[in-house]
Amino acid sequence: MTAENPRILLVEDEELNRTLVKAVLARARIAAVRDAEVLDASTLASARTRLAAEDVDLILLDMNLPDGSGLALASELAAGTVATGRPRPTVVAVTASVLPQDREAALQAGCDGFLDKPYAAADLVATVAEHLSRRSGQDRS
């Protein structure tokens, strides 16, 4: 476990969903999740700005964003064209586009995980916890 609390960037245009994610994570029973610092961005552009300025461990990335598809950001991260401080953040696609071809496209773009909307609170927590622990494991190794 790193000394600092993990940082999560939530890229989501719907305010309702941002509120929801924050509320769910804040009430998680898993300390790592509960203690995570949640940053948010409602567009791709603001997400890029945030990533340039701050260190982020995990991105919860909506696909349908006002200024484009989340896939674009995922591919940029995979290609390393987005300046980030730490090792490349883990990207989890969180989207209501759940058809097989959508999932395929997300994985192709370099997303590390996939969470379908609508999700139960427990699913969100479990997904975040899994990816954070995998990451901290990598950090230690």
Partner: protein, 895 residues
Amino acid sequence: MRVDWSSLVLLAAEFTFAVLFLRALVGYLRRRDPLQRDVTLVFAPCTVLFCVDIARRINGDALPMWVNAVSLTVLLAQPYLTVRLAARLRAVPAWLQRAILVTLAAVAAWVAFAPRPLSPIQLFTAVTSFLIAELIAAALLFGKARTRTGANRARLMIAAGATAAFGLMIVLIGIAAVPGSSPVLDTANRVLALICGFGYLIAFVPPHWLRRAFSATAAQSVTERLLRAPAESAEQVWQIYADIMRVQTGADAVAVLMPRADGMLAPAAYAGPPTTAPDGLGFADVTALIRAGRPARLRDSDPALVAHFGDDLGDDFVTVLSMPVPPDAEGAVLLFNRHRSLFSDDDLRLLAALGGQAGVLAERQAVTAAQRRLAAELSTSVEALTRASQAKSSFLANMSHELRTPLNAIIGFSDLMRLEEPDGDRRRVPADWVDHIHTSGRHLLGLINDILDLAKVEAGRLELRLAPLRVDTAVSELLTGLAPLLSAKNLTVTTTLPEATALADRVRFRQIVENLLSNAIKFTDDGTISVSVAQAGDLVEVTVADTGVGIAEADRERVFEEFQQVGDPDRQRAGTGLGLALTKRLVEAHDGEISLISTPGEGSAFTVRLPAAPLLQLDQGPDAGARVLLIEDDPQSAELLSTQLVSAGYHVEVAGTGEAGLTAAGAHPPDAIVLDVALPGIDGFEVIRRLKADPRLAGIPVFFATIIDERQAGLALGADDYFVKPVDQAALLGALARKIAHRPVPRVLVVDHDDEIRKAIEDGLRAGGADVVACADGRDGLALSRESHFDLIVCDMQSPEVDGFSMLAAIEQDPATRHTPVLGLTAAAGVAREPGDAAPLVATAMAGGVVATAMAGGAGWEALAPLLGGSGTAMKDGSAKGGSGTAAKDTKETA
């Protein structure tokens, strides 16, 4: 040995002319064709001349005088015969023919027996007149040649040239006859004679190979042109063939006949001056013409042909050609000519044969073209289907996405709530979570409703309850409802709402305008929204304009597509993306249209055009005071429905069971019945069955309002409409208003001096649906009865001023009112008539010969009502049958 070339040339020329003459003669003897006879005659003089020449060579110059005279006369006849031939081929003025004949005959008479050698004057006159006549003939042939094409033209040209050469030859002979002329001239005229002979030979008796070359050229040209012409159907192919044949053969008219199923020949195409197309020609008759093998006068041929073509084309020549149509049919080509065609017969046969084949080729071409067109259409529709299928897939994907989005909030927040610590049987949760769930739920519901509506429209299952709708009122109601939204965004609304009535479904209309309004509100941050209504002819226009973000030109079609929110993605607004798509479909389902004008950055204006309501139905609300019987056991439903009905201006009577409803309807038939299905005792279906079985009640419109969705059953039993609860109030009221309005409203004149009784009668009649005019005085009553038409006059027989009997007499005498039934009211014997008295009165319908007894006063008068609407006719009929003027005799009891 020295060869006398000059003599050999002469011999060759003489031989050529002999051949020509013999061929022509044989041709004529074989076919007895007048044209062939004329051709033969043209060559006869030459032949005679050369016979004489040969005889002269054998006998020296010692020929008898008469031979010389005959040969000269025959020679002078030749130009005239040539002109005569030309006259068979084209129009030649009769005076010209006569002038030539007379001139040549005069010259012949003068010089034939003149002593030889002829005097220079005689020689000059003979040669000149011959030359002029020959040149005229040549010019006529040349003129004809110019109107023709191909081989015919060439052959006629050559014939004209040969004719001119013949004239020149005679000039040379004349010059040679002058003593002391050069012997070269003799040779020259013999060469000219040979040229002339060959010319005629080529023109009239072409060698086989030349003829075939002519035919082949003509046939090729026809076939080529036929195949090149763009034809889409067999009819067109034959029309083109007829046109080409007409040009190619120089015929005045060409008809192509094809065999019909019944063996008759029917014209497939006709080219030429307008004429009545023959309906069908006996194949045998045409075959007989074909067998004749030569042009015939139309008048001599098949009467059917004459009937169809003769009158229009004149007394003309018709050539009939058999035309084989592969595989085994046989048609015919008819060529009509005002004049004979000199050479065409040979070519024509080949042309007809080729025509059949070319026709089939071209028909195949047409079929191929049709197939190509079909293939293109098919691929277009396959493309369209593919596009539609792709659109469907993307619609489904979009729909899934759109549904999941609000569900995410609902499931997520409710999940969070479940995780909150319970406090007894409650949990403490943040209030805004509940709001989030509620909002998302509403959004989801809106989405599902939109999707269902779209699906309904797509499947054509959207049922519109079209009724005249005051668009201006509906729009202002909507604006009132949206006022909070408008003021929240600080938007100004301007309206132009003149009175306009569209034929529309109230609910759907509201949906359409609400979508446009909420769209305008959504995309306008500050500024003005203007709503205007206009009635333009048979259209009603509703325009919603905003000063919002506007829509780029490229997006103007796309805004009406599902799940498309266009414009700057940074400024996307919340919404299902279905609103405009649905709006467009709803408008189209009304047979209306929606259009959009927009300038990006300045605003958009959506205009909806819907059909206007027919003028007749303008402002047709429910009849004031119409009575509705509501048969409904559930008190809450009954109250809700009766409140709605009362507020719409109906008198409502409620019955709690089917039996009670039937009793109430029987006692006092209402204007309409609203009926539930689930009732204690007999159910609604049984109620309507009994209603429809009762002739007195069968005409009353019945509307089901029930929770049981058995529309088909209800309508099958005779219901006018079927509403499933929760009942669409507007739809029910609209249906009621339409049904009740369509019942004829009887006009009744009531004359009674007693104010209270008159009022009671009036009320009773009005409740029964009558239009009542009332007055107290008999004189006024008479005046009113003359001013306008009444279906019934009810009058008090004991009016103080004019008694009922004098009034009846007056009504009876006036032709305008003679046939109007009159119900006379009188107190029953022995019963005092007092205001409001419920005692029976005797009602006497005197004019109609019907005396009726009815209940008098108050509620009893309502018994009149059923007599006036549908069943009121019985009374009118009775009056009509009774005739006029007969005194009241029969007495009838009515309930």
